[in-house]
């Protein structure tokens, strides 16, 4: 088992810098998830850890050893790919034993290790099939089995569930979570699916434009996002943002108001919040609740989606600004119906204006 430490990691393709200096500290046995929008560099960072991409600058340590120049096969890692990358002409057994075949292991050793991995993944009955006879979920299980057989210190997953349908994705997610608990290995997992990130991770790393935006436990990120990007990226539906004016700041609270928002005191613990002038107010859709009158916000309903367990209401404020409100109940709203919304002041977020979070926030 091993720590993985990235220090000032950079990656350039020619003159284009893709990863612009990333520091991540992954503890032994930790489950770390990299999330971010497409093209944020999350897969590139993972591939650099794997040894499939050269590291342009910075140092990568696995298990206390700098491995920048160590070939992929000697880093003590195993990788599971989005496209499974299992060999179509080999049986499941041969696929799982591939690394041992390459290393010239004996048949007995192969059988033993494959049997153990198959037992862990409950796929003993599939061992003599060919990949073409397997479903997507079973194929990904084979790929995970091949990784287990390697007995790696670090497991790397590159969007392993993206090719699966929704139901299977849920099963496999739970499966991977269990696997982490039973193996206790360090796991690094890349996904663009925040549900996977929130449920699996001990620690989430949010990446954007080649920088780490924020790093922390899932609930830290949810409740205390450090910048607008993280606030908008974590949580579904996305956080509502409204322009407000700060009219006074005292300690960790700031009085804010705007034409749309009645005056109230918002928590203002983020350092860069101005003492006066423009700021951005963020409220999660789940924190908004309809009230009969005197809400902080008012407008009218444009659309209501009833999902049974929740109702997602699309509200247009006076000037047309859209706000989403998500209620944890089934309730009927008519389009055009006037609505007043209120929220717990302590659960509001205040951000400095025009900070898309291009700088490393950490």
């Amino acid at each position: 088992m091993a720590d993985v430490i990235l220090k000032g990691i950079k990656k350039s393709y020619g003159s284009v810098e893709v990863i612009k200096g990333v520091d991540i500290d992954i503890k032994d046995g930790e489950f770390v998830v990299f999330v971010g929008p497409s093209g944020c560099g999350k897969s590139t960072v993972l591939r650099m850890i794997a040894g499939l991409e050269d590291i342009t600058d910075g140092t990568l340590e696995i298990g206390g050893k700098i491995v920048n120049e160590v070939p992929a096969s000697k880093r003590g890692i195993a990788m599971v790919f989005q496209s499974y990358a299992i060999f179509p002409h080999m049986t499941v057994r041969e696929n799982m034993a591939f690394g041992l075949t390459i290393a010239g292991a004996s048949k007995a050793e192969k059988d033993e290790k494959v049997a153990e991995a198959a037992r862990i993944l409950k796929m003993e009955h599939l061992l003599d099939r060919r990949p073409s006879q397997l479903s997507g979920g079973q194929r990904q299980r084979v790929a995970i089995g091949r990784a287990i057989v390697r007995k790696p210190e670090v497991f790397l997953f590159d969007e392993p569930l993206s090719n699966l349908d929704a139901a299977l994705r849920l099963d496999m997610r739970i499966e991977i979570g269990k696997l982490h608990k039973s193996l206790g290995a360090t796991m690094v997992y890349v996904t663009h699916d925040q549900v996977e990130a929130m449920t699996l991770a001990d620690k989430i790393v949010v990446l954007k434009d080649g920088y780490v935006q924020q790093m922390g436990a899932p609930m830290d990120l949810y409740h205390r996002p450090e910048n607008l990007f993280v606030a908008g990226f974590i949580g579904a539906p996305s956080m509502n943002f409204l322009d407000v004016e700060v009219i006074g700041k005292e300690g960790d609270t700031a009085k804010v108001r705007s034409d749309l928002v009645a005056e109230f005191a918002a928590p203002a613990w983020r350092e860069d919040i101005p003492t006066s002038g423009r700021a951005i107010l963020g409220v999660r859709p789940q924190d908004l609740r309809p009230v009969d009158s005197n809400g902080l916000l008012s407008g009218h309903v444009t659309l209501a989606e009833r999902l049974g367990i929740e109702t997602v209401v699309d509200v247009a404020l006076k000037d047309g600004t859209r706000v989403i409100c998500s209620l944890a109940e089934d309730r009927v709203f008519e389009p055009g119906q006037p609505i007043h919304l209120d929220f717990d002041h302590k659960r509001a977020h205040l951000f400095a204006p025009e900070r898309g979070g291009h700088q490393a926030a950490a």
């Binding site: 794997a50 040894g51 499939l52 070939p71 992929a72 096969s73 000697k74 890692i77 195993a78 990788m79 790919f81 496209s83 990358a85 299992i86 060999f87 179509p88 002409h89 080999m90 591939f98 690394g99 075949t101 390459i102 290393a103 060919r130 091949r146 390697r150």
Partner: protein
């Protein structure tokens, strides 16, 4: 949208007619005519009516006998030896010409022979030239198929890399394919030309004059080899492109997975590349085999089957007989035999390379 014209069956058939007619006239009909002619004594132009002759043409081509010659002996039963110490045998033509005791040898000629003790065993063929053509064609196929396929694969692996200027190499390797085989043959005649040819010059230059110039196309020992080398060179680019397309269908993540598992270059080829090229390999082998059996233009331009029939091949013989000697039935018979050989080999290859599950 659908007018009466596009819905009418008759209009559809009418439009298909010119193309279908051409195919029928120039491909399907000749194919069946070849079978029909091979059972007759049809000539290209003859005042005599055509007669059905059954399988006589096939017997004339394929007839083989093995005959053992016993040495000449004197009255005491001793073997007669000539001045050079060679055993003397009766002349073969005593048996093959109008000898009622040996009707099976009638008209046959010696193809090759070997010594067994005092006796000499002779293989006689009704048509020695055809037999040589058959052997040369099979030799050509057996050498060209693996060499051309293998070389093309090596080239494809070399150019399947992201390197600066790699497309230049692709173009260069593919260039001979674009040039007509007739032009290529004429150019290679210069390369192979005796005395002052390019190949002779290069070889004597490389060996500082130790190499004695040869007449590559004029010697029985080198003529077929020279044509094989040229044919491989000419066709290799085409098959390289097919291999390349096969290589590019292999998912790059498979290579990455193999890299993580620590595969050596050879293991990557053995476990990832080669299995991924399976279907391409079948295609290439069948295509090369069929192309190689159809060898004609190089022979026609460069050697005309010579010297001493050392580069005779089946298609050249078929054309030579059908048009050169105006013996259409003989030429047709060779075509039919060639067709049967190629069909059998293709079926065999398909069976050998079938998917086993």
């Amino acid at each position: 949208m659908a007018s009466k014209l596009t819905r009418s069956d008759r209009a559809g058939w009418l439009m298909a007619l010119p193309g279908a007619g051409l195919i029928a006239t120039f491909i399907i009909l000749p194919f069946f005519l070849a079978f029909a002619f091979s059972l007759t004594n049809q000539r290209l132009a003859s005042p005599n009516p055509t007669e059905y002759v059954g399988f006589e043409n096939y017997r004339d081509l394929l007839g083989l006998s093995i005959f053992t010659l016993e040495p000449e002996r004197n009255e005491a039963g001793d073997v007669l030896v000539d001045d050079d110490g060679q055993i003397e045998y009766p002349r073969l033509r005593k048996f093959t010409r109008n000898n009622p005791d040996y009707p099976k040898l009638q008209g046959k000629r010696e193809w090759f022979s070997w010594q067994s003790g005092e006796n000499r065993t002779v293989v006689l063929a009704s048509d020695v030239v055809f037999m040589k053509a058959l052997v040369n064609t099979i030799t050509f196929v057996l050498v060209v198929a693996p060499v051309q396929a293998g070389l093309a694969l090596v080239l494809a692996l070399l150019i399947n890399q992201k390197l600066r200027g790699i497309s230049l190499f692709r173009a260069v390797y593919f260039m001979p394919v674009v040039v007509s085989i007739v032009v290529v043959s004429i150019l290679w005649q210069f390369i192979y030309s005796p005395g002052d040819g390019l190949l002779n010059n290069v070889l004597s230059g490389l060996t500082f004059g130790a190499f004695q110039p040869r007449d590559w196309l004029g010697e029985t020992s080198t003529a077929l080899g020279a044509i094989i080398a040229m044919s491989v060179w000419q066709g290799v680019g085409f098959h390289m492109v097919i291999w390349l397309s096969g290589l590019q269908t292999i998912s790059p993540t498979l290579y990455e997975a193999a890299e993580i598992e620590g595969s050596s270059k050879w293991q990557v080829f053995r476990y990832v590349t080669w299995p991924g090229l399976r279907n391409t390999a079948i295609l290439i082998l069948i295509v090369i085999t069929m192309q190689a059996f159809a060898l004609f233009a190089q022979i026609d331009v460069m050697t005309q089957g010579g010297p001493l029939d050392s580069t005779q091949v089946l298609v050249f013989q078929a054309v030579e007989r059908g048009y050169g000697k105006q013996d259409i039935s003989g030429g047709s018979t060779i075509s039919v035999i060639l067709f049967v050989i190629v069909l059998c080999i293709s079926l065999l290859q398909r069976w050998l390379t079938r998917e086993r599950n």
